[in-house]
């Protein structure tokens, strides 16, 4: 029998858990990992001993050996891919690959940390360090440089970017755990203090402690459990950097490659998507990724997001209905996990009634990790309710 080389339909997201905390000075980082792991396992209706694959990233203290031992896992498959905030979307695809290949049957993916308390994972320097470290690239100015060039090339405005935050805030008002619950206006955003031109304070995401976890499993096991069935039908990953300084263009992300791969595998198009979780470290992050994924043409993102088009029940593409990283939660400055979790809530019909998308049977969870203006990795997951 011919073996089809795809992860389409080979893995289901059977368990999700988002830690309700946004500030956890009295907990350890490992403890938060254990709490989110337990939450996702309980949500799936499984037990710890069912877990035979573990996926962790740079936020997990000590890495693979310490975490597997601390959690008391007995696994036959591990993956420690670290691409910053997109790690967990990449790992969702890797978990599906491992399950399809029979390497594990119940995969646990965890994220947790305490940047609001003051702890952030440290990254070892790359080959570029001597040639870049002195220039003070931070998240704010790296994304600021993308926004500056996007405005220059396409006429994107601060007001258009602000609509992304406005939409997120409309959703966050219904999330009791959101760090920022107040609805804001375009004027509020553009009148907030300039942080790094052209990004204002309200163009930036929140910094929160906390985390989240997923249980990914085989079709057979998922069907034996109680949750509504949500499966991965398409996945893509891609990386982009300065490329030796050649063909330099900061107005697009690696989503131009990860997106089409995922859509092709799923056999669907952006027009089919009912709900979109789009990584929102900054407003510009959302705008560029929507273009790169094909929800609108390159350069048209400003017009696409304006006038409430991302607000559930109002616009054509409801996005980040939990309030996203801009308003609700951005645990460990790594937003990919919560993107998957809210997409699964929507597909299960478990989002807040005020933001639940009707007949939501197809969703996308997409993110970039690293710095969009320097080096980053994108990942796209297309999820379907069965």
């Amino acid at each position: 029998m011919e073996h089809e080389l795809t992860i389409k339909g080979r893995a289901y997201v059977a368990g999700i858990y988002e830690h309700p905390t946004r500030h956890a000075p009295d907990k350890s980082i490992a403890q938060l990992h254990a709490e989110v792991a337990r939450g996702a396992i309980e949500d799936a209706g499984l037990s710890k001993n069912d877990v035979d694959g573990y996926f962790l990233s740079g936020d997990a203290p000590g890495g693979t050996w310490p975490m597997v031992d601390y959690l008391g896992l007995k696994v036959r498959h591990i993956d420690s891919t670290d691409t910053g905030g997109s790690s967990y979307i990449i790992q969702l695809g890797h978990a599906a690959e491992a399950i399809a290949a029979g390497k594990c049957s119940v995969a646990l993916i965890t994220l947790a940390g305490k940047p609001r308390t003051g702890h952030s994972p440290v990254r070892s320097p790359g080959a570029e360090a001597d040639f870049e470290a002195a220039y003070g690239a931070t998240t704010h100015n790296a994304y600021g440089m993308c926004a500056m060039r996007h405005m220059h090339d396409y006429g994107t405005t601060a007001e258009q970017l602000a609509w992304i935050k406005v939409a997120a805030s409309h959703h966050a008002q219904y999330n009791p755990h959101a760090l920022l619950k107040d609805v804001v206006t375009v004027e509020d955003v553009v009148n907030s203090p300039m942080i790094s031109d052209p990004l204002h304070r309200l163009d930036c995401c929140v910094v929160t402690d906390g985390g989240g976890a997923l249980i990914v499993t085989s079709p057979e096991i998922a069907r034996s459990l109680k949750n509504p069935l949500v499966r991965l039908i398409g996945h893509g990953e891609a990386l982009k950097g300065p490329n030796g300084g050649k063909d330099f263009d900061l107005t697009y992300s690696a989503g131009v490659w990860s997106g089409p791969r995922a859509f092709e595998e799923a056999g669907v198009t952006p027009k089919d998507i009912k709900y979109a979780s789009i990584y929102d470290s900054f407003t510009i992050t959302v705008l560029m990724q929507l273009e790169d994924l094909g929800f609108c043409a390159k350069g048209q993102g400003g017009r696409f997001v304006a006038d409430g088009n991302l607000i559930s029940g109002v616009g054509k593409l409801p996005f980040n209905t939990d309030g996203g990283g801009l308003c609700s939660n951005h645990p460990v400055n790594r937003g990919g996990m919560t993107k998957i979790i809210e997409a699964v809530r929507q597909l299960r019909g478990e989002a807040h009634p005020k933001v639940q998308v009707k007949n939501c049977d197809l969703a996308i969870a997409h993110g970039t990790g690293g710095l969009l203006g320097v080096r980053h990795a994108a990942s796209t997951a297309i999820l379907e309710r069965v």
């Binding site: 080959a127 570029e128 360090a129 001597d130 040639f131 870049e132 470290a133 002195a134 220039y135 003070g136 690239a137 931070t138 704010h140 100015n141 790296a142 600021g144 440089m145 993308c146 926004a147 500056m148 060039r149 220059h152 203090p193 300039m194 942080i195 790094s196 031109d197 052209p198 990004l199 300065p242 490329n243 030796g244 300084g245 050649k246 330099f248 900061l250 320097v374």
Partner: protein, 129 residues
């Protein structure tokens, strides 16, 4: 404002030592591949485009154009402007725009190389022409 900032000395390594030695002599070097003829920055021993090891050092004119920038309004050492500039020779690179009115920086502006001292080799920055 930039004059108050201090910069870390490059760590350097065997692959990049010639760049930093040239920097001490005031020369800004890029790498060019003699197999595919593409220039690149920062310098590698093996060409990132065609993977040939036939890369050679080439002195850059230090003339460049601002591709993009962002003015960080607050930092422990005051405001500063991060930027990408595109060298006359082709490659674009990350830097800071220094010794100027930061509010007047614009995309497309012509800039030139300017070295800043460290405890080791100097670091390359750019300033408006």
């Amino acid at each position: 404002m930039n004059e108050t900032r201090t910069y870390p000395a490059p760590v350097t390594n065997p692959e990049t030592a010639p760049f930093w030695e040239a920097a001490k002599a005031g020369k800004f070097m890029i790498k060019r591949c003699t197999a595919c003829h593409e220039a690149h920055y920062f310098p590698r021993s093996i060409c990132p485009f065609c993977f040939s090891e036939q890369t050679v050092w080439e002195e850059s004119s230090g003339e460049a154009t601002i591709y993009t920038f962002s003015l960080m309004r607050k930092s422990p050492s005051g405001p500063y402007a991060i930027a990408y500039v595109t060298l006359k020779e082709g490659p674009s690179l990350q830097t800071n725009i220094i010794d100027c009115d930061l509010e007047m920086i614009r995309i497309g502006q012509k800039v030139k190389l300017s070295w800043k001292p460290t405890d080791g080799a100097p670091l390359p920055f750019f300033t408006p022409v």
